[in-house]
């Protein structure tokens, strides 16, 4: 049971990649990319957890009490912003792809075939 969050993280990473590889719709590809990123959130937060500890807000509890790791929370916050913005950018590209190619299926995007 102690290993379970880490297994979830590894699974999410690969399942997200599967989504990107097998998707027939670019919107689904971008969402799968978000799933890949989610694996790093699970891993980071799982790493920072301390058993039986409280949230790192010391407004009403003594500073010396057992608190979870705040640093990973900051890292995950930054990661979420990165993921949201990259997804926005990619979805804007998907909108334009629909306009130019008439389709959002990766199989139909052809001009860069070598």
């Amino acid at each position: 049971m102690a290993f379970f969050p880490f297994f979830v993280a590894a699974w999410l990473f690969v399942v997200g990649l599967w989504g990107v590889v097998s998707s027939r719709n670019l919107v689904r590809t971008v969402i799968s990319l978000v799933v890949v990123q989610a694996s790093s959130y699970v891993l980071l937060l799982g790493i920072g957890y301390r058993g039986g500890a409280k949230a790192p807000i010391v407004a009403d509890i003594p500073t010396t009490s057992r608190l979870v790791d705040p640093v990973v929370q900051v890292l995950v916050l930054t990661d979420i912003v990165i993921e949201a913005t990259v997804a926005a950018l990619l979805l804007a590209l998907v909108v334009q792809a629909h306009k130019r190619f008439g389709s959002v299926n990766p199989d139909d995007l052809r001009p860069l075939r070598d």
Binding site: A97, P111, L112
Partner: protein, 609 residues
């Protein structure tokens, strides 16, 4: 004593960018240009000052005043040594050149183009200067976000959309793998500062966690660096991005991936992997050689000039990876010197291609057959650039290549020198072939794979102005860059200086001292290495090889017709397979990425136990 200006090379473009984006839609073009140029020049000067200061002794600048305390780091440091600051200066310099080139020619949308270029520069500069692993990834993403947007600049065409999607998805997956690698290192050491992680890991033997973290981190940076098989996005992105953006991609962005691998190895992993140097060398030299060979062959098979230049970048990056993989100071010195020479040369070549695109609305080698006769100066620049790629003395590229060759010999990898010669000959030869066909009208007018020509013709213009008159600035800037490649290597003390700073770069035990404890570490004194006769010999072979390759490309039809079927058919089939693999489909690219990182991971886990 860290200079107060240490954070400014990042802050100046971060202030200028929003200014230009917010005000640019109302302001005249000259305002955006001026703000952009000023910020770029200022960043270049600031980085140069930092490099000079770091030459006395490298230093760490703790942001927010959060110096290390109670035995650990809390804040973020900029760990500035001369190689890092020098690379930052080079990045800012290329951005200045690209913005100058865009002055007269580029159809900039409101302030958005300038803003994104400035943010791109800020990302690159921050990437080179930072000492914190998470901060490195953040600036990697700043660079990448700006790059994705700039790639898709010409939204009215289909190619840029697809190219940007492939670029965005591939590089993002690389980045997400890196976050997992970072999480693993944080879990093990409880630190995010690279020097501290290195010190914490250094006393222990590398176990599976450290190896997988290394593979994931290197995997992400090697995706940016376009190592095989993580390279598919690069040619797609270069084929469609506007010329000034390609200048930056090939000139410095891709090389920053190699820099990060070197930096991470020496600051973080060198201590813990010191028992496995031979295995690490073998794995990454193998990767570098594969990249170099595939890039060189694909380069020769292209008729789309921008794709041709993109594949030549990939092959040179393969050489850089080999140089880093030799795990010596001389290898790093060779990479540093060659990187500067190659970056300036590739920038100039892309700018020349831009002149052709502007004039003739196509960048297909056969479409342009003979039409370059009215642009003799551009032809001369392209020819000289090709010879620089072939590492002809006395250019900076030759200096770098000779250092790389000596590093190869010193590490016991003499056979890699053959690969280097092959790469120089093939890439230089391909560009010479283009020069001969376009500017001299040599060779046949019809080529294989006519389908590729469609992608090379431009439907709409990224440029302003009339196609019959080429603004002199568009020829002046590449000329200046090529003069730089000629002169930089000849500056007395320049190359020996790089060797000394490289020797400092690989002193992994010293990092904890100067980053965490503020010790003053001086630059080691090295006897300058001399260029041996062997190096001149190799360079002669590669230049002659380039001429031979170009001649084969231009006049080789009768030779190919007379080849026995036993040779000709498999070669055709192999070329077909290579073209087919570069399919443009994102699913294929990510499958190759997963396979590549998986294989590298598996090999490392077995070899580095």
């Amino acid at each position: 004593m860290a200079p107060h200006i240490s954070a400014l090379p990042v802050v100046v473009p971060f202030l200028a960018g929003p200014l230009v984006v917010a005000v640019g839609q109302f302001a005249p073009r000259w305002f955006n240009d001026s703000v952009g140029m000023l910020a770029a020049v200022a960043a270049t000067a600031l980085c140069a000052l930092l490099a000079v200061h770091a030459a006395q002794h490298p230093f760490a600048y703790w942001l927010g005043g959060w110096t290390p305390r109670y035995g650990t780091t809390i804040g973020i440091s900029l760990s500035i040594d001369t190689l890092g600051a020098g690379l930052a200066t080079f990045s800012a310099l290329l951005v200045t050149a690209a913005l100058t080139y865009s002055l007269r020619y580029f159809d900039a949308v409101e302030g958005l183009y300038h803003g994104l270029m400035l943010l791109f520069m800020a990302g690159m500069v921050g990437f080179c200067l930072t000492g914190d692993l998470f901060n490195l990834l953040v600036f990697f993403e700043v660079m990448s976000a700006a790059a994705y947007a700039l790639t898709a600049y010409k939204i009215e065409e289909r190619g840029p959309i697809q190219g940007a999607i492939n670029f965005g998805i591939t590089n993002s997956i690389g980045a997400y793998g890196m976050f997992i690698g970072l999480a693993l290192l944080y879990a093990r050491t409880g630190a995010l500062n690279m020097a501290e992680i290195g010190a914490a890991l250094g006393s222990h033997h590398a176990d599976w966690l450290v190896i997988v973290a290394m593979v994931l981190l290197f995997g992400g940076f090697l995706t940016k660096a376009a190592a095989v098989p993580l390279h598919f996005w690069l040619a797609d992105a270069h084929a469609v991005a506007p010329i000034p953006v390609c200048v930056l991609f090939s000139g410095v962005m891709v090389e920053l991936g190699v820099y990060a691998v070197a930096r991470l190895y020496w600051q973080v992993f060198a201590g813990t992997l010191s028992a496995h140097e031979i295995a690490v060398r073998a794995v990454f030299v193998g990767l570098g050689v594969m990249t170099a060979l595939l890039g060189a062959v694909m380069c020769f098979l292209q008729r789309h000039v921008k794709r041709l230049l993109a594949f030549s970048t990939i092959s040179h990056v393969g050489m850089f990876i080999c140089g880093v993989a030799f795990l010596t100071g001389k290898g790093i010195a060779g990479v540093g010197t060659y990187l500067v020479g190659h970056g300036l040369t590739k920038a100039a070549l892309f700018m020349c291609a831009g002149v052709l695109l502007h004039r003739f609305a196509t960048i297909d080698e056969y479409d342009l057959h003979g039409r370059g006769r009215e642009l003799p100066l551009v032809g001369l620049l392209m020819g000289v650039g090709a010879l620089m790629l072939a590492a002809l003395p006395p250019f900076t590229t030759f200096m770098g290549k000779s250092l790389l060759e000596e590093a190869a010999a010193g590490a016991g990898y003499n056979w890699v020198i053959v690969v280097f010669i092959f790469v120089s000959a093939m890439t230089g030869g391909a560009v010479l072939r283009v020069t001969g066909r376009v500017f001299l009208g040599w060779g046949p007018t019809e080529g294989p794979h006519p389908g590729q020509a469609e992608a090379a013709r431009e439907d709409t213009h990224e440029e302003t102005g009339s196609p019959t008159h080429t603004p002199p600035l568009m020829v002046l800037v590449p000329a200046v860059l090529l003069v730089g490649v000629l002169l930089l290597g000849l500056i007395p003390g320049a190359v020996p200086g790089i060797e000394r700073f490289a020797a400092q770069f690989v002193e992994h035990k010293a990092y904890a001292g100067w980053v965490l404890h503020g010790l003053r570490v001086s630059v080691p004194v090295l006897p300058p290495s001399h260029i041996s006769a062997d190096d001149y010999g190799y360079s002669l072979i590669s230049t002659v090889g380039a001429l031979a390759v170009a001649s084969l490309g231009l006049f080789g039809r009768p030779v190919r017709a007379r080849l026995p079927d036993a040779l000709g058919h498999p070669a055709e089939a192999a070329a077909g397979v290579l073209h087919g693999v570069h399919s443009g489909h994102i699913g294929d690219y990510i499958t190759w990425w997963t396979a590549g990182v998986g294989v590298i991971g598996g090999v490392c886990l077995v070899a580095l136990r």
